[in-house]
């Protein structure tokens, strides 16, 4: 059995759940949710045992390498967590849906996951475009899902307009890259860009448009304006999905596209490289500095998501960093692996607060340590890791990026990244301080279920383990990097 059968199976399960919900309206949302969770879990268990063989007709446009397998596993894990978080928040979420139902909230993430997995294997621009749109269009629905909430609807409209705009820009870029290089496949593009006869302005224009289109999806400056509004308005599980899943999907495509654009002897290499550095530096600053003045934790996590996208872009700009044994694609994958547990814990905390009738502002977190010490501890760990405190996973991700920048002598970008990280310490620890403030609030306990405790604990342990002992993950990502370096 090859890996792509898992993707097909997940999409099929999503469609089946949708049909069941449509024709058997009395089915409980718990059954639907648990079926979706079971399906994703089975796919995750089967993933390591699947063969990487492909029929001949698929080979020109589909590949199953280490990076693809890593991102497929990543998509499955985040989908599993999001489905579970949805189930956890469902009593609260159903207040805002039309008839108190959540069916699509369980079937659409499966379809999104299938799209993200497919995208990880893309080998040409057509197989990038179709799954990318599958993911984006499904997200339009998910973001606007809580229709009775005007915030969710507003977020949906904003995401729709800007998402569709980025699609237009992306396709236009693809058209010009195709026009300049005469090829849709990444290999063909890389080869044509090495040929001096290729038209440089056309190729540069196309590549810049493609990067702009993908920049929208991963929230890179100056195309990050939609992020705070959409993240704040969308239902919390969907925000977690957008922030981790959608970003990872965007970055796997960026990794592949940049491997082509920045291949050895590429005509447009220097310009694209400079563009990445400038965008990355701008993104870290525009993500971190405004976040210092915020009061809403959900919005703060949105800005944090922007600044993390900036670090990831800077990682992509450093082609091969000699000191960490990982090529840029490997560093990005490592960073995303550290980013997953810390972000999910953040949104888990927010979701639980909301489910217990509390708000999402920093002041609502006041005294959380007395309400529930475990949740407070886990959230503190997640925020420390987001800030990049040593011995947490987030520290290593940032360290790799900084080392890469220093190795290549990109001092300007390094300064921006350090300033942003320092600002990050301020606003993350402002929230942590609120959690441990005890004065003057009545503090009813905030009970947690066994499953919630287990998941939160597991994520917290992941943060610490990755932060202290990252070698196994680095080893997993090494073959992907070796292949790139050898080329």
């Amino acid at each position: 059995m090859s890996v792509f059968t898992l993707e097909a199976g997940l999409a099929l399960l999503g469609l089946v759940l949708l049909m069941i919900e449509a024709f058997k309206p009395d089915i409980s949302r718990r059954t639907l949710g648990l079926t979706a969770i079971a399906g994703t879990a089975i796919a995750l268990v089967l993933l390591p045992f699947c063969g990487a063989s492909l029929p001949a007709f698929m080979q020109p446009w589909h590949q199953i390498d280490t990076l693809a397998l890593f991102y497929k596993g990543f998509s499955l894990v985040i989908t599993l967590l999001v489905l579970w978080l949805t189930l956890e928040c469902s009593p609260y979420l159903t207040k805002f849906t039309l008839d108190g139902k959540l069916a699509e909230m369980f079937s659409l993430p499966l379809i999104v996951c299938s799209g993200m997995m497919w995208m990880a294997s893309a080998r040409d621009l057509v197989t990038v475009f179709v799954p990318l749109e599958l993911v984006t269009v499904s997200f339009y629905v998910l973001v606007a899902f809580a229709r009775k909430s005007s915030f969710s609807l507003e977020a949906g409209v904003k995401y729709l307009i800007l998402g569709a705009l980025s699609t237009g820009v992306l396709v236009y870029g693809i058209a010009w890259i195709y026009g300049a290089t005469g090829s849709m496949s990444f290999e063909g593009i890389a080869k044509a860009l090495g040929n001096p006869a290729t038209s440089k302005p056309a190729a540069l224009f196309g590549a810049a448009m493609i990067l702009a289109g993908l920049g929208f999806k991963v929230a890179a400056a100056p195309f990050h304006m939609w992020v705070p509004d959409v993240y704040q308005g969308a239902p919390t599980p969907v925000t977690a999905f957008l922030s981790v899943g959608s970003k990872a999907a965007g970055f796997v495509v960026l990794t592949r596209a940049l491997d082509a654009f920045l291949a050895e002897g590429s005509l447009i290499g220097t310009e694209i490289q400079a563009m990445l550095l400038v965008t990355g530096s701008l993104t870290v600053l525009l993500g971190s500095l405004p976040a210092m003045f915020l009061t809403s934790v959900k919005r703060l996590l949105a800005y944090s998501s922007i600044s993390h996208a900036g670090y990831l872009l800077l990682a992509l700009a450093c082609r091969d960093s000699a000191r960490v044994d990982l090529a840029s694609g490997g560093v990005v994958a490592f960073y995303l692996a550290t980013y997953l547990p810390m972000t999910v814990i953040g949104f888990l905390g927010l979701g639980l607060m909301r489910a217990n009738g509390l708000g999402e502002d920093i002041k609502d977190f006041t005294g959380l340590a007395r309400r529930n010490p475990l949740l407070a501890l886990v959230m503190t760990l997640s925020f420390a890791s987001l800030a990049g405190l040593p011995l947490t996973a987030g520290f290593l991700g940032k360290l790799f990026v900084f080392l890469g920048l220093a190795d290549h002598g990109y001092w300007g970008a390094l300064t921006c990244a350090i300033v942003a990280a320092a600002a990050g310490f301020y606003y993350y620890f402002k929230t942590v301080l609120a959690i441990y403030t005890t004065e003057g609030t009545d503090t009813p306990a905030l009970p947690l279920g066994v499953a919630t405790k287990a998941v939160a604990g597991l994520l917290a342990v992941t943060i610490v383990v990755l932060g202290v002992y990252p070698k196994p993950l680095q080893k997993v990502l090494m073959p992907a990097s070796a292949a790139v370096v050898a080329k």
Partner: protein
């Protein structure tokens, strides 16, 4: 004789008009129409490039296959998009961009 550059100029104009409309218009439905126009501009460029990129004397059809996908995706996007815009109109009785300014830091 119509050459590749004619197609590219028309497609560039369509794209620029669409982008200008997205930025300048206040009505979300019109903004959405402009977005569709940008996709059509991209499709025109793709077909143009494909027709004039000859492999062994025949046009190269890879780009045209993408056009079919783009049209399908655009149709799906319109279906979902109009549903969201209708839901917005039902709740606010307006489709002006000013009606979606509640989310702020």
């Amino acid at each position: 004789m119509i050459s590749l550059s004619h197609y590219l100029v028309v497609s560039g104009m369509l794209f620029a008009l669409g982008l200008a409309g997205v930025i300048a218009r206040r009505n979300i439905l019109i903004v959405y129409m402009c977005l569709e126009m940008m996709l059509s501009a991209a499709n025109l460029a793709l077909v143009g490039f494909s027709r004039f990129h000859l492999v062994n004397g025949l046009p190269d059809y890879t780009a045209q296959s993408l056009v079919f996908f783009t049209i399908t995706v655009a149709a799906a996007e319109v279906a979902v998009g109009l549903a969201i815009i209708v839901a917005l109109f039902r709740s606010k009785q307006s489709v002006d961009v000013e009606s979606v300014t509640k989310l702020q830091g």
